[in-house]
């Protein structure tokens, strides 16, 4: 087995990994190696053939593949070495890893490793939905792959499960494949496309495609023998069942980080985000092992992932130079109804976050929400949010990090709803 030495190894050539590679090169790191298991670099965005990317970070409106190409081109220009079709099959805590590729097995020893392995959607099997194993069941990712790579029809009538931002991607892909959408289901009392993205939903689902959104509804059972024939929909409020004939079911959203490498390396995991625990330098619990992008907590927008990659690169660069070796960590404990907050720990030596803000999600709908960051009962920061819905990203400014006391007591993040106050 031949051995490679590198200063930095980045696993995953999506926006986070490539942004980190570029930033490291700008800071003057000698050798930066990015490995990706797919035949092409660029990450999941290569299949999101619709507009809406790059507005906040590149200040241009790009499609997913355009955004991915732009990142790959710029990374190569910066001198980042990208190896595709290279799968990391083992990663040890001492930053030594084994990769498998058509060129054979190789051992890579790096001084610092960044994990940017991204995330996936929860598949049908993991949602415990009754019925046979049929064809015609997709997730948004596999649907986009199928339609844009094979240019093949998927079906005639579809049900989309989930009414969040990624569901709009599924709608666009289905309309490209000339598949009519019978209904969009959500288990919440309202759809979850809010804020900046609300006009996209208005234009696409309401005006152009005229897709009904069934609220408080879940898939009870999928009917059919070979191919999906119908779907039984249950209303969670009234319990009534309703059968809708269709031949395609698309499960959207409900992200799970692809955390297998991180878990294999033995870093501390967060059961809420299902990603590795990272501090405000995006460092994991192992020295020299960093994590960025959607691996941390499921899908956020591409600009957030890229910002995290570049942010982690700065911390890695400081680490390579031997600055900030020992660090003192304070955990952040979010309380229900907050689902998770990322990053989920604070390093006192580096009191900042990627893009100057934390991101968080809520579990249930919160009206007149007010968030408080507290340490030992003392309120460090307070902000009103108005109406919060699940699956929608919310951000929390980080300027209160300067007020944290160094007595190691954890930070509590509490969200209260208007009715209770």
């Amino acid at each position: 087995m031949n051995r490679i030495q590198t200063q930095v190894l980045i696993v995953g050539a999506g926006p986070a990994g490539l942004a980190a590679g570029m930033q490291l090169k700008r800071l003057g790191v000698g050798k930066v190696l990015v490995v990706d298991r797919e035949p092409e670099a660029g990450g999941m965005l290569r299949f999101c053939h619709h507009w809406g990317f790059g507005v906040f970070d590149l200040h241009r409106l790009l499609t997913g593949p355009g955004y991915a190409r732009d990142y790959v081109k710029r990374a190569l220009r910066h001198g980042v070495e990208i190896r595709t079709q290279t799968t990391v099959i083992a990663l040890a805590g001492d930053r030594q890893c084994v990769v498998s590729s058509p060129a054979g097995l190789q051992e890579i020893q790096a001084q610092a490793v960044l994990l940017a392995t991204g995330c996936r959607e929860r598949p049908r099997a993991a949602r415990l939905i009754a019925g046979h194993r049929l064809s015609g069941i997709f997730t948004t990712g596999s649907l986009q792959d199928f339609v844009h790579m094979l240019h093949s029809p998927v079906g005639k009538r579809a049900i989309v499960v989930g009414a969040e931002l990624v569901s709009m991607s599924a709608l666009l892909t289905l309309s490209k494949a000339h598949c009519k959408v019978e209904a969009i289901l959500t288990d919440q009392p309202c759809h979850q496309v809010r804020g900046l993205y609300w006009p996209a939903k208005l234009f696409l689902a309401d005006l152009r495609l005229r897709n009904p959104i069934l609220t408080n509804s879940v898939v009870h059972r999928i009917i059919g023998r070979q191919r999906v024939e119908a779907v039984e929909i249950r209303n969670t409020k009234t319990g009534t069942l309703r059968t809708v004939p269709c031949d395609t079911v698309v499960f959207t959203g409900d992200w799970i980080p692809d955390h297998e490498l991180a878990r294999g390396a033995g870093v501390d995991m967060n059961s809420r985000t299902q990603g590795p625990v990272v501090d405000t330098q995006l460092a994991t619990s192992h020295a020299g092992l960093y994590a960025a992008g959607n691996l941390l907590r499921g899908a956020e927008t591409s600009d957030r992932a890229a910002a995290e990659g570049a942010f982690a690169a700065q911390a890695m660069h400081r680490n390579l130079r031997g600055v900030l070796a020992a660090s003192q960590r304070i955990p952040i404990l979010p309380e229900a109804p907050i689902q998770w907050i990322s990053p989920d720990a604070i390093t006192l030596e580096a009191r900042q976050t990627p893009g100057g803000r934390f991101c968080f999600r809520v579990q249930t709908i919160c009206k007149q929400a007010k968030i408080k960051a507290m340490q030992n009962g003392e309120v460090l920061y307070e902000r009103r949010y108005g109406f919060c819905v699940p699956n929608q990203p919310y951000y929390l400014s980080d300027h209160w990090l300067a007020k944290i006391k160094t007595d190691k007591s954890p930070i509590q993040i509490r969200l209260s709803c208007g009715e209770q106050n």
Binding site: P123, G141, F146
Partner: protein, 110 residues
């Protein structure tokens, strides 16, 4: 008395490929990848099924002719992501082998 049983010289034992992690899988073996580069080209990342293994299953003595057959022989599409990443790739390979349209493989007319 009775039939005398003798081993048939022309009998070929059907070997199933190693799909369990108890044996050395092709992606872990330098010799296998050196013999055929396709064993280093992973299609299904969760179960780490290489292109070579999928081709083997499609050309086996009892070849896979459906997606489910390919699933049982190689475990592709059966991992934690259930085809989020590789669904289209596997369908493409099967459709090319059968000479059918990808939409026929998933039971869609047109």
């Amino acid at each position: 008395m009775g039939v005398v049983l003798r081993p048939k010289p022309e009998f070929k034992l059907v070997h199933m490929p190693p799909v369990s992690e108890a044996q050395i899988r092709p992606f872990q073996s330098e010799a296998a990848i050196a013999a055929n580069r396709e064993y280093g080209q992973i299609i299904c990342h969760c179960e780490r099924v290489s292109l070579g293994e999928i081709r083997d299953a499609l050309h086996a003595s009892i070849p896979a002719v459906t997606l489910d057959g390919l699933r049982r022989r190689t475990r592709c599409l059966q991992g934690r992501c259930q085809g989020f990443h590789c669904h289209a790739d596997v369908i493409r390979l099967l459709a090319e082998e059968l000479g059918e349209k990808p939409s026929h493989v998933i039971g869609c007319e047109g």
